[in-house]
């Protein structure tokens, strides 16, 4: 696919009479990692849910590439203890998936060999990775992650996002993710979209971190952390990128 994977055109959403999103237009290109940041209640999750078709649109539309396969990792998956569920069974819902595909997805997600465990017995990190394995089972063109690192500590979250980058590299899928871990996520993104009911600003992580709209929402503090993170984990950015973000901004 060389045409956009998914496009939102002038999308507005009302929930219970309240306008949650207003005139959102954005395009996701193949193999691109887009991160959506924004304060609580800014409509980030709603936007992702609109992309999978779970929320009715007040206006505008979502255009998907023909035959688009979407892998989705929801924000919260509270598994009721009354529901017995092995990892293997969970991965075969709603369609039966071959053992080969399951094994491949599990190792790609970094949780090989957990197939026979009960979902409720998994640790937080394992659970999130199983969700990731599920999302990439059918080799999606587009991976949607809604705060997929909730409940993980910072090294856990960083490792998780590194895993996402590897998945993107191996499968060539586009990734759209919502996150609160601003600095970690932004470092791993090609493009950042700052959302607060509407799109405040968007662009490369450095550009957004410098934008006044972003600073108005998040302050200047994260920029220093972003720089710090880049110095420690600059696994795929060019060397000259390292010098871009001085600490004088604070």
């Amino acid at each position: 696919m060389t045409s956009p994977v998914i496009t939102a055109r002038d999308l507005s959403i009302r929930l219970d009479g309240r306008e949650v999103l207003r005139n959102i237009s954005m395009t996701v290109e193949p193999a691109e990692i887009v991160t959506i940041v924004g304060p609580n209640g800014s409509g980030k999750s709603t936007f992702l849910r609109a992309l999978i078709g779970a929320v009715p649109l007040a206006s505008g539309r979502v255009e998907r590439a023909a035959g688009l396969r979407i892998g989705y990792v929801p924000q919260k998956l509270a598994l009721d203890a009354a529901l017995p569920m092995t990892v293997r069974r969970f991965l075969s819902l709603p369609r039966r998936i071959s053992d080969d595909l399951v094994t491949e997805a599990m190792s790609r997600a970094g949780v090989p060999g957990l197939e026979n465990r009960q979902m409720t017995d998994l640790s937080g990190g394992q659970f999130q990775r199983v969700l990731l394995a599920r999302a990439i089972l059918e080799r999606p063109h587009l991976l949607l992650l809604d705060e997929a690192t909730q409940g993980l500590d910072q090294p856990g979250a960083a490792a998780f996002y590194q895993r996402i980058e590897e998945v993107r590299r191996d499968l060539g899928c586009a990734v759209v993710m919502v996150s609160h871990d601003l600095h970690v996520v932004m470092a791993a993104s090609d493009r950042v979209l700052c959302l607060n009911g509407h799109i405040c600003c968007e662009g490369a992580p450095e550009v957004v971190a410098d934008a006044p709209e972003y600073r108005a929402l998040f302050g200047t503090g994260t920029k220093g952390t972003l720089a710090l993170y880049r110095h420690q984990h600059s696994h795929r950015h060019d060397a000259d990128c390292e010098h871009d973000h001085g600490h004088g901004a604070n």
Binding site: I70, L83, M85, T86, F90
Partner: protein, 268 residues
């Protein structure tokens, strides 16, 4: 053989137990125990309606149960917590139904038979309804099984996989109304919710997958019906409540066994 009322009662009990239990798994997983109760209580209104119009009871009961189930589904998330809403609607339906039945003065009606069931009075025609309805319900659930499971886990996950959770929910609602309608004769309005929930809960400690739990619940449901009937015969107790007591006993046993096992071999 079918001439013996005990044989007919056993067949009816096993039919209901085996049908309602797998459906009850979803009631347990989706935390809608009260939902089953509200649907069942609405059946009393259905009975009153049928008497007023002098129409057959079964379609009226199915209609009333469906109406209640749909109303609850529609009202969900509009200002009241689900348990409050269901508490209001379930008991209103029951009370209004009983008032309505009593107002229809010329109708001679044994209300107790509807409230607690009268499994010993099951006719051949009832057996056809129970097994026919039961087969329909099981077929429905089997057909929608995967869609229902994924929707139960997470509606958005279902959407992303191309499954409409509302459609799946609609089928579940329909199956629930059907079960309630055919189970009235056996355990009665007041104890249908018990036959939905208790065998499913009793099967939980034994199961590792949803399918195991549904199958286990069906077995436990059928077995409860047989042993409950037997106990009722020996002890001369009411049949419907005896069946529910038998199911509860099995629940206590499986739960205790699981708890003891967990103490011996700590789970990693």
């Amino acid at each position: 053989m079918l001439d013996d009322f005990m044989v007919r009662a056993a067949l009816a009990g096993v039919g209901i137990g085996a049908t309602s239990a797998p459906l009850g798994c979803f009631v347990v997983w989706r935390r809608m125990a009260y939902f089953g109760e509200a649907t069942a209580h609405a059946a009393v209104l259905g009975v009153a309606l049928a008497l007023a119009l002098s129409s057959p009871v079964l379609p009226a009961v199915i209609l009333a149960s469906l109406a209640m189930a749909s109303a609850v589904t529609l009202l969900r998330g509009h200002g009241y917590a689900m348990d409050t809403l269901l508490g209001v609607m379930a008991h209103t339906a029951l009370a209004a139904g009983m008032v309505a039945v009593s107002l229809i003065s010329d109708a001679r009606l044994d209300l107790m038979a509807f409230l607690f069931g009268d499994i010993l009075a099951v006719s051949r025609g009832d057996l056809v309804v129970i097994w026919g309805g039961g087969a329909m319900v099981l077929g429905l659930i089997a057909w929608q099984w995967s869609n229902l499971l994924i929707s139960t886990l997470n509606p958005d996950l279902a959407r992303a996989a191309g499954v409409d959770p509302r459609t799946a929910e609609l089928w579940l609602t329909l199956a629930l109304a059907l079960v309630v309608a055919v189970a009235i004769k056996v355990v009665g309005v007041l104890l249908i919710a018990a036959m939905l929930v208790i065998p499913a809960a009793a099967a939980r400690p034994l199961a590792r997958t949803p399918e195991e739990m549904a199958a286990g619940a069906a077995l436990i449901g059928g077995f409860s019906a047989l042993s409950g009937l037997y106990a009722a015969y020996i002890l001369d107790t009411p049949a419907g409540p005896s069946i529910v007591c038998a199911a509860s006993l099995i629940f206590v046993v499986t739960t205790t066994v699981r708890a003891l096992k967990a103490r011996k071999t700590p789970r990693i």
